[in-house]
Assembly symmetry: C2
Homo-oligomer: 360 residues x 2
């Protein structure tokens, strides 16, 4: 029996992807080997990695002037890799701070002898808002403007892509990549951990505009050096092969289910249904300003926090798992990434209504 898993990541994966992986885990494509056992230099695996990249590029309509890299270390490694690759000591960089993930990115950037300008900081709202376009300034000398389109912990999401002018825009798209169509050309650099919408943890996708290559500091570890990794087709060292393979399967599943336009429509409908249920209730509430509500991470609180444990136990019994909110926020959080079907959201809404009826 499969459950509806609302984990913020590692997150639910499409069942057809898991079933395919399970079916060939001891014999991949008739090779007599698991994909886990295949050398990354072997032609069948190279073809698998190329297909994963090609499918990802096709889904996102990545322009030819961008390189797609498969790295390790998650977004947290990129918090260091971005300044290491794009700056020299003494440079100015700009950040928008909308929550815990952008805060971490800012803190890591301060290790690299930079003038770190926080152009907007939403802490006054307890990170329940995003800055209005035009309400903040980005220094023209900044090497980049970094932002976090979606904060998984706060459940706050930019309704628009910031306009950074000529300053390259850098985005941590870990929780939104592949959730809807994306205009990659607006960005200088995109990075994303795979464990929400792309596959398992342990794989990071970087999409970098080619003119930003060639600037890495000497101290940059080779495995985080975009230029070296681009030159080696992401195989400067052994890549996380199984994760790349799964990313390919997930990307094909997205194509097979209608691509990113259809995915975006489904995700929007899922989020709309869940927020409508919360807002129409007198029992549940979500703290985020309406225009900045996340499509994918929906935190909500019960009118009486003393009921939290009972809510969670009942949810688990109903096959709805991982609804506990982040330890720093409390309450509940429903993460409804690509692999969560509307049926799962409906099941959650029904459970919430029934719980409210019996406890409200």
């Amino acid at each position: 029996m499969r459950v509806y898993n609302f984990s913020a990541g590692p997150a639910q994966l499409p069942l057809p992807v898991l079933e395919r992986a399970a079916s060939e885990l001891t014999d991949w494509g008739g090779s007599g080997m698991s994909v886990l056992e295949v050398s990354h230099r072997e032609k069948d695996f190279v073809a698998c990695a190329v297909d994963a990249e090609t499918t990802l590029r096709r889904l996102l309509a990545v322009p030819e002037s961008y390189r797609v890299l498969f790295l390790q270390g998650g977004a947290t490694a990129q918090f260091a890799a971005v300044p290491m690759n794009l700056t020299t000591a003494g440079d100015t960089v700009a950040y928008l701070n909308t929550g815990q993930w952008s805060t971490k990115a800012i803190k890591q950037a301060r290790a690299y002898d930079l003038d770190v300008v926080v152009s907007a900081d939403e802490s006054a709202s307890s990170y329940t808002t995003t800055p209005d376009p035009g309400s903040y300034e980005v220094p023209a000398t900044a090497r980049y403007l970094h932002y976090t389109p979606n904060e998984t912990i706060g459940g706050v999401e930019f309704p628009n892509v910031p306009d950074a002018g000529d300053v390259p825009l850098v985005g941590d798209l870990s929780s939104t990549i592949l959730s809807r169509p994306l205009d990659v050309g607006r960005f200088g650099l995109i990075y994303a951990g795979a464990q929400k919408n792309m596959g398992p943890s342990g794989l990071t996708v970087v999409i970098v505009r080619e003119d930003l290559l060639g600037r890495a500091r000497t101290i940059t570890p080779g495995v985080l050096d975009y230029t070296k990794m681009a030159a080696a087709n992401s195989m400067l060292n052994t890549p996380p092969t199984f994760s790349v393979y799964l990313l390919g399967l997930v990307a094909h599943w997205i194509e097979d289910t209608g691509g990113l336009t259809a995915m975006g429509e489904r995700n929007q409908a899922k989020a709309a249904a869940l927020y409508a249920a919360i807002d129409s209730s007198g029992f549940y509430s979500n703290p985020v300003e309406e225009r900045s509500r996340s499509w994918t991470n929906v935190p909500f609180t019960l009118a009486d926090p003393a009921l939290d444990a009972e809510f969670l136990a009942g949810a688990l019994a109903a096959g709805l798992t991982n609804l506990k909110g982040h330890r720093s926020v409390g309450g509940m959080r429903a993460s409804i990434y690509n692999a969560m079907p509307m049926e799962g959201v409906t099941a959650l809404i029904d459970y919430m209504a029934e719980f409210e009826r019996t406890h409200g």
Copy 2:
């Protein structure tokens, strides 16, 4: 039909491990979720990670004064992490150079403003030797002595653990860890990519003596900072969860098949049989000095390189895969890690004998 896979890494895995993973890939332990979908903060996964570490510690008899870390980025990331964590600018460090992997480690260390002393360099033998104990000096001021116990490309292996005196010994054990009993107490720091004897690519195990913590440079990316990772039980960020799970399964498989003493005996017997077959032949040869021959990576050449392609095609037809030598060395290479049974080595030896009979 499973083949005998002689890949240098990612390498053959134990079939019972793959079968177990396949059987629970859509429903892990009755959770209704794949282990790929479980949050790393969830108690069942935390227990899985603790069990993987505990089993690894038990197998290797890791002293309590050492921390075991699960990181990402492979040995190549550690080439940078070691100097970042253990030195400050201007320090002296020492390396033994026995092949391509130690050369890469040395090159990366030079990025960190250090006096990099190469205490021994075996390039004169085309890296077919290891330095005699006592034939090289390690500066007493060195922050560490780094060596590569086994070079997977050259197939050369130290027959002993170097004595570095009071200088902490650092070893890249990617291709030898868990192949036999190990005296961890001889080392200040051990690191190893998982993709040979421990599991899939994308996971790096670091075993570090606690007194070496607390020295990381500010520029160290958080994900490579041993001190921060130790404080966070390797969960400063999302770990590669599936790889940690598989490492646990592999570690239990080693215990279930007799532990490291039995494993070492099997590995020694496998290597002895293969080298004996090579040496007793007038057709095959191995270039490595006898005392420094690798237990796990056995390169060999045919008397006539023009026969290489036919040898490989015939091997493939016989279910013996990935025998092509590294592109920088040529010829053949048979990697016979833990998961390769004696039956696979015997099948290779039989094929080699038959090929020699018909082509010699």
